[in-house]
Symmetry: C2
């Protein structure tokens, strides 16, 4: 078995993991149990990984973190929008 496939599996789950949360949050407008600090940290991580990807010239790292950042920005936008009501 070629164990480098683990990196691809990990990348797939990392890239797509926040899509269901973004869909759920946009649909239900329910942000009550979400941690704001967690999403600020997650977006900070994604932006740092993306920048590190640019520095390394690593396309998969940039692509993955473009996806995660997008979903996290949607979730954070909903948190600010729904909490402000």
């Amino acid at each position: 078995m070629d164990f480098s496939i683990l990196g691809y599996i990990a990348t797939f789950f990392s890239a797509t993991s926040f899509l269901p949360q973004a869909v759920k949050t946009v649909r239900t407008k329910d942000v009550q149990s979400l941690s704001l600090i967690t999403y600020i940290f997650l977006l900070s991580a994604s932006v740092s990984w993306f920048s590190y990807g640019v520095y390394l010239g690593d396309i998969p790292l940039m692509a993955t973190n473009t996806l995660t950042s997008t979903f996290q920005i949607i979730i954070l936008f909903m948190m600010f929008k729904e909490k402000a009501k």
Copy 2:
């Protein structure tokens, strides 16, 4: 500036990001707005990254994903416990 510091910043935020969510979820017992699929995918990603770290002999990758897995397991445990009520 040594841009490799971006990797350390990203690792710090990745490793600690789910701690505030775990604390909030354990304290409030409120899991209503959390996406189950997101947490199953996140744990799958962490376990895959950890295994890839073992394959590469990469200690920081193993350490980071031990932390994220732990917090994600706590959050998933709370989700099953509180939804089952």
